[in-house]
Symmetry: C2
Subunit: 577 residues, 2 copies
């Protein structure tokens, strides 16, 4: 590619007179003024920096695994230039996953909800390197990652390479949990990746086109048009609801002869769908589904999937059944990826189900490794584990009784370090920690202190595996990294009870901004903080506006909004491409 820019001309000049290049390096290193010319000059500068004439970078090498919510949020908020950042992920784009169910039904296009990671990175004020590859082994003892290109093309063999790191940030997400149910990985569709949604969309159209062929028997036609959703969580429910809309709004017009044969069944192992939501939302959804003719089977476990049948077992009666289907969507939760399971064994977490981090998102039992998003959970420290240490810091000198004045001073540290305390106080309707001790007469000794706090740990809860949590963790970690040096000198976190001094940073705290459950027919349920519940058409518009505002770039925002507009105006696209 020939491009006659200033830089190309300058490059040729320097090639002709090599001595000039030193002047350029001085000017670059000195004032960085040439950098102000932005993008175009990068390849040019690279000519010299690659030559090794510049002093070796003393920056710490940070490697980020993943391009999902957590990783992208981290990269977006990282402002400090004291790191050399590299991103490794098999997906060269960020996907706005909450809109995946909309992609399956053609309400929104797949390309509208993705943003190339290189676009995001090119807007950062410093250079971040991206490698499209999958990390298949984390070697924590040598601080090395083993990576492999995820491409399946005829461009060459499977490229494998290693990447060294000083600091590792694991944000690889999770995979679908099949609970080892036979046949699921062969026959079920998932709703985890963009490719899943695209495949699902095409299979949906396939079902209707095939049911429309003259050689298909009526019974077979019914089977092909039976859509089974396994899992009554928000994703499964949203998919079932959107699918119902598609059938009523679009298929009825385009496939009039088979439209009345389509049937949707939702299988849920628990007693209710949307069981993590408020009961009012569950009830509304169940009633709406019944009215829509969606067959809701709760208490029904899937034991096996064959090419044409779902085998089920009723949890209460133990009765077994078999349902012929044309399409099964499996949406029952997540499990760790193999690379994470292997890593857990290396660092002594082999007996755990999920990778554990502390409240600062540092992987337990491992140096300089952070994990965030769906691939890890925070192992919240129990207050009772540290009860002696806490008491030791607040007792009167030379006695075994509580010094209430000292205690008041550290209440803030305690509630920050053990957030379950706050939840317990709220649940027990006790004003504050001092009030908790008020029921004891006389001086408080260690036994009374233990007794008063004995129940607080019952309030510990794992965070849900949502985009909201992952994004907040990414932002939190980036902000810690930005203030790393400052906080080394002036720690801002809570007091350390077992040793002395303070933690460098405040621990991560999740702020819940509410959760949506789209229920089809332009109706959405929302559970907002403070037990607020909102259901209906206006909530759908709230959903539209919040999702539009949360989209990662103006490009995706424009695309998704125009997709919605297109859907309202022209209906959904049923082309099988």
């Amino acid at each position: 590619m020939v491009s006659y820019t200033f830089y190309a001309k300058a490059l040729r000049l320097f090639q002709a007179y090599p001595s000039l290049s030193k002047i350029l390096i001085v000017s670059t290193v000195g004032g960085g003024s040439l950098l102000a010319f932005s993008d175009d000059c990068r390849p040019f500068l690279r000519v010299f920096t690659d030559g090794g004439q510049q002093p070796e970078s003393k920056k710490k090498k940070v490697v980020v695994l993943g391009t999902g919510w957590a990783a992208t949020s981290f990269l977006k908020y990282l402002k400090s230039e004291s790191y050399e950042v590299q991103v490794v992920s098999p997906r060269n784009y960020f996907a706005f996953t909450p809109l995946l169910p909309s992609v399956t039904n053609g309400t929104v296009e797949a390309r509208s909800i993705v943003e190339p990671i290189r676009n995001i990175l090119s807007k950062r004020p410093y250079q971040i390197d991206f490698k499209e590859a999958e990390c298949f082994k984390i070697d924590a003892s040598n601080k090395t990652l083993h990576c492999r290109s995820a491409q399946v093309t005829n461009l060459g063999g499977k490229e494998e390479f290693t990447v060294d790191y000083d600091i590792l940030i694991i944000a690889v997400g999770a995979q679908v949990n099949t609970f080892n149910t036979p046949g699921v990985s062969e026959y079920a569709h998932f709703l985890k990746e963009v490719e899943d949604a695209q495949k699902l969309r095409n299979t949906l159209v396939d079902c209707f086109e095939r049911a429309n062929l003259p050689s298909v028997s009526d019974e077979e036609r019914k089977r092909i048009l039976h859509f089974v959703v396994v899992g009554g969580g928000p994703v499964g429910v949203e998919f079932a609801a959107e699918l119902h809309d598609v059938v009523v709004q679009d298929i009825a017009k385009l496939y009039p002869s088979v439209n009345n044969l389509a049937k949707i069944t939702l299988l849920e192992a628990g007693d209710h769908i949307l069981n993590m939501y408020d009961k009012r939302i569950t009830k509304f959804a169940e009633t709406k589904f019944q009215r829509d003719g969606i067959d809701l089977k709760t208490g029904s476990m899937v034991t096996k999937l064959s090419a044409k049948d779902v085998s089920t077992k009723d949890r209460a009666t133990g009765e077994c059944g078999s349902i012929p289907y044309g399409l099964v969507v499996w949406s029952t939760g997540i499990a760790p990826r193999p690379v994470i399971l292997d890593f857990m064994k290396q660092i002594g977490q082999g007996s755990r189900r999920v990778l554990a981090t502390d409240e600062w998102l540092r992987v337990e039992g491992c140096d300089s490794v952070y994990a965030l998003g769906d691939c890890a959970t925070i192992n919240q420290r129990k207050a009772m584990e540290d009860i002696l240490a806490i008491f030791g810091q607040v007792k009167k000198d030379d006695t075994n009784f509580l010094n209430k004045q000292e205690f008041r001073k550290v209440i803030g540290d305690i509630t920050e370090r053990y957030p379950q305390v706050q939840l317990y106080l709220k649940k027990s309707k006790v004003k504050n920690m001092v009030a908790l001790l008020d029921k004891y007469e006389g001086e408080i000794d260690i036994e009374k202190f233990k007794e008063a706090l004995s129940q607080v740990d019952s309030q510990m809860k794992n965070l849900p595996a949502t985009a909201q949590v992952a994004a907040q963790q990414g932002e939190y970690l980036a902000k810690c990294f930005n203030r790393m040096e400052k906080c080394e000198q002036n720690p801002e976190g809570p007091r350390r009870f077992r040793t002395t001094g303070h933690h460098r940073f405040h621990p991560f705290r999740y702020k819940h901004f509410g959760q949506f459950a789209p229920l089809g027919g332009e109706q959405t349920a929302a559970q907002l903080p403070g037990d607020w519940v909102s259901i209906g058409h206006s909530t759908q518009w709230l959903w539209y506006s919040i999702y539009a505002s949360k989209l990662v770039s103006w490009r995706t925002r424009m695309l998704v909004v125009s997709d919605w507009f297109r859907r309202f105006t022209f209906g959904r696209d049923t082309s099988r491409i």
Copy 2:
């Protein structure tokens, strides 16, 4: 799906009181008033019509094979309700193929250029049935089509069925011509179908991502980023030009470290690219490509493709060469599909290269079968074949000399039946047919008449295989079908010279509205009727506006225009999905 509409309720009412249904049928058949309720009532009416209580349809069964330019244009213009129309095609959508090169580079999205065929059909005033299947055998003697579902899913086996027809319209298009070059079908990319463009787009991104991996050697990197286009026709040239734009405008920013390694080579077996265009356009394009750094190798034939190398042979010197490549795009012309080759054998056209029709688009040697678009060519009748018959009709009674008065009367018929006459007159700069005979002295006998017309057939030309021709043929044929009964009685075509009377219809006549060749960098060349040539930025805007206006629906129009807008504002999308 339960939908509590008026019709569902009515249906239940009729199921309870069957006698009522007769009233409904009477009202339907009598006034058709219920039909005015449109779409919603169709599945309901079907309940009764399927029962066979309605009188058997006497309509002729027209089967259309294909959903491309010719078929869609035919369906769009067909207004007569005296046919029962069925469409069979493996693609359930129409694709606006001239924008395919834009899809490969992400300038336009694949979904923006397709329109579901069912959307198009649902807007027709009468019901048209669509089957998503591929016709793999045409049995002309039994008037039966053997079809098979093209789906590769786990929905069931390969569905096969037959479709009977009274009138068959073949518009299946063509396939890529590999000229049996070894390795082409395995390793090359094509630009024929939407899937090709999508695959090509992902492979392009793959190339850049892979070249960016640390384990790839510099030499390998150069190979991976070498893009070879085979064929210097308008599609190959447009693809090469757009690819150059992508590299300069987008890749430079997003992949700064490998950008300067990318190289494009265009191989053309002839002496010039764009050889069907005006010489000025060819020259402009060749100069622009040279300036852009696109390596243009004319006179170079491809003899073999291996996984990583293109083998070439210089047409002049016979010298053989080998070019390492990362991506090859093969765009060298078209060949008939296997189903057409088989059909040609059946009807005695086995020795021909392409299916032949007469000027009314009727397949030669076959009853009630029409072929249009890329799958057939019009076998223009030679004037010399009919020269005796023509002369017989215009000679003086009882003599062997031309009656000039009679001759004048049939000149219109002759030039309509043999359009090459007109072209010959224009080329020879002769005013009209009478003037052609003026150079002979005395009375004109058959020998002089023959001599005067002996050169006209040299002006016969096959029509190009373009969307423009296919669309005009579809429109022409639909308009013939619309006026079938009327023209049976009052034929409007030219005089039949060999027998008596007139042909039913005017023969098909192609109107050339010009042709575009986008050359990248917001520049386009256009060859307009009357040897007008226009090249440059303003022509690019002409291209934008004509393509936008020609798009098949308001939906695709909106989508493509917003894609262009998006590309101008945000650049192209390089996500690999």
